[in-house]
């Protein structure tokens, strides 16, 4: 018989069962690893933000009669969410926070990238500062900014002094930036000065 040219020559013999098992095992392992890679940060557009009530009843000072009652800390989920932080960065410009705080460096208003916090460094304190306003210049944004945007701003304000994780904090600006990006800011350990300027 004349031998024709085969386009897809058949293999001479099948691979041994042990080898096949190993190949299948490796494949399954690779699939598992890829599965893990599928976990992705969520961009919730209609998610419930930490509610405003979480910030209610926060103390402005640690000084209190009798023994000190510990406060339950408020967790702001937006601090681990890169999208929320970048939204906070955008709103910081758009709502003209930069008009007084100058990209966090301070000018008309106090600096936000240092370790000094006049009215508290906790997320709930910053939330209250934005919503209520503070004497000597900080306006009250109550009713003008939705709660979830305030929480985005809170997360971003804390990223200015390196309080949030570097894997979520903004890594670059749309415009020229003279300071280092929020992502690589050193983490300042906050101290309360307690003396409004």
């Amino acid at each position: 018989m004349r031998e024709g040219i085969l386009l897809f020559p058949r293999p001479a013999r099948r691979s041994p069962p042990a080898l096949r098992l190993r190949v299948v095992g490796m494949g399954a392992l690779a699939l598992l690893i890829f599965q893990a890679a599928c976990k992705r940060e969520e961009r919730g557009f209609r998610v419930q933000p930490p509610s405003a009530s979480a910030a209610e009843g926060s103390r402005m000072t640690d000084f209190q009669p009798g023994p000190r009652t510990p406060e339950s800390p408020v967790k702001n989920e937006y601090e681990d969410n890169a999208y929320a932080l970048s939204e906070g960065k955008r709103l910081f410009q758009e709502y003209n926070c930069s008009g007084c705080h100058f990209n966090g460096g301070g000018g008309i208003g106090p600096a936000l990238m240092d370790d000094e916090w006049l009215y508290g460094d906790k997320p709930e304190n910053i939330f209250e500062t934005i919503v209520e306003g503070r004497p000597n210049g900080m306006p009250s944004f109550r009713g003008k900014v939705p709660d979830y945007q305030v929480w985005q701003l809170v997360a971003y304000v804390r990223s200015l002094s390196g309080q949030v994780g570097s894997n979520a904090a903004p890594g670059r600006s749309d415009h020229m930036q003279t300071s280092s990006p929020e992502q690589s800011r050193p983490r300042e350990s906050p101290k309360l000065s307690g003396k409004p300027r």
């Binding site: 961009r43 557009f45 209609r46 758009e94 709502y95 009713g143 003008k144 900014v145 939705p146 979830y148 945007q149 749309d174």
Partner: protein, 348 residues
């Protein structure tokens, strides 16, 4: 979840059908490059038709050659006979000649098309410069800002998502972007041009046909890129100057109590942080200006028709309509919402 999947697959099917139909539908559309409304778009349409017919001819020839080859297969006797692989100079020369001729024809066609494309490009980018109307277009995620620049600064104004143009007058459109790269594409008027942040580019054309045309962002810019549309209304000179004079006015004053309360709702809630209404303290330029909102035909970047119902949906939960857009959902009481809508729909 299952429902979601079903909806998704339905969308996909609809999408495919739309893509298939688009070619035929587009031929009689307000978003079509083969129904030109400007001389420049006319040149582009001509080029398109030349390329179309040349491509059809090439496709027909290639297909015919292929069909001929399929039917002129080897006979059963030829297939069993031993293959003769000895060199045959005569046959070789013939085959080489045929391939060379086909290659030469291909190159010639490509060069002719290149030349046509070049001359069209030149014709499209030059236009005599007689008293042009200057408009600045700024791209935002995800809406279009159109600034009408007037020699008298106080008469200049900004509008959103609707570009009105006078017929027969030269338009100089200066394009730039506020955030990411967008692209201005109104196929009836002109080819597309990118809007680049921090840089200005210009598009010059002269609309010669009245009508309503649709434009679209043509550079992927984020979640709502597909829904970033705009309308171009080409009107007679008289209609245009009436509209222009009206647009340069401040917003109308509220005429009854409900509208007055509506204005109060607007000024004391989140609206005021991003929108402008001329003649009120609302003066922010983050969102589209609403000074003459009721005189526009669409809202949300040509996504919804401008009706009271759509406006209510948009104000309360725009994230359902266009997920990821910059408008926050607003919780307003029924009376407040009603008053606000009365006020907004009065802004003729």
């Amino acid at each position: 979840m299952k429902r979601h999947k079903e909806t998704q697959s339905r969308y996909r099917v609809t999408g495919c059908c739309c893509a298939a139909l688009m070619f035929f539908q587009d031929l009689s559309g307000a978003h079509s490059s083969v129904e030109p409304a400007t001389p420049q778009a006319g040149r582009i349409a001509n080029l398109w038709w030349v390329m179309f017919y040349v491509s059809v001819a090439v496709l027909a020839l290639v297909t015919a050659a292929l069909i001929y080859a399929v039917f002129r297969r080897r006979s059963a006797r030829e297939q069993t006979a031993p293959v003769d692989l000895s060199p045959n100079t005569n046959r070789e020369r013939k085959a080489t000649r045929a391939a060379a001729v086909a290659l030469a024809v291909t190159i010639a066609i490509l060069f002719v098309l290149l030349g046509l494309s070049f001359t069209t490009g030149r014709a499209v980018s030059f236009l005599s410069n007689e008293s042009p109307l200057e408009i600045k277009a700024v791209g935002h995620r995800w809406w279009w800002e159109f600034q009408y620049v007037d020699p008298v600064p106080s008469r200049g104004f900004i509008t959103a998502n609707e570009l009105r143009l006078p017929q027969g007058r030269q338009i100089v459109l200066t394009l730039t972007s506020n955030d990411v790269i967008h692209s201005f594409w109104a196929p009836n008027l002109m080819g597309k041009k990118d809007l680049i942040p921090g840089q200005e580019s210009r598009l010059i054309f002269r609309p010669e046909k009245q009508g309503v045309f649709r434009g679209q962002c043509a550079e992927f810019c984020g979640f709502q890129h597909a829904q970033m549309g705009f309308l171009v209304l080409v009107e007679s000179d008289g209609d245009f100057s009436d509209w222009y004079n009206h647009e340069s006015q401040q917003a109308v004053q509220p005429s009854n109590d409900s509208e007055k309360r509506g204005r109060q709702v607007f000024l004391s809630s989140t609206c005021v942080m991003c929108h402008t209404i001329g003649g009120t303290p609302a003066n922010s330029n983050i969102g589209p200006p609403l000074t003459h909102l009721a005189s526009r035909t669409s809202i949300a970047a040509a996504t919804l028709t401008n009706s009271r119902e759509n406006l209510a949906k948009w104000v309360t939960d725009s994230q359902k309509i266009k997920p990821g857009n910059r408008m926050p959902p607003n919780v307003l009481g029924p009376e407040n919402l009603d008053d606000l809508l009365n006020y907004l729909t009065s802004l003729k």
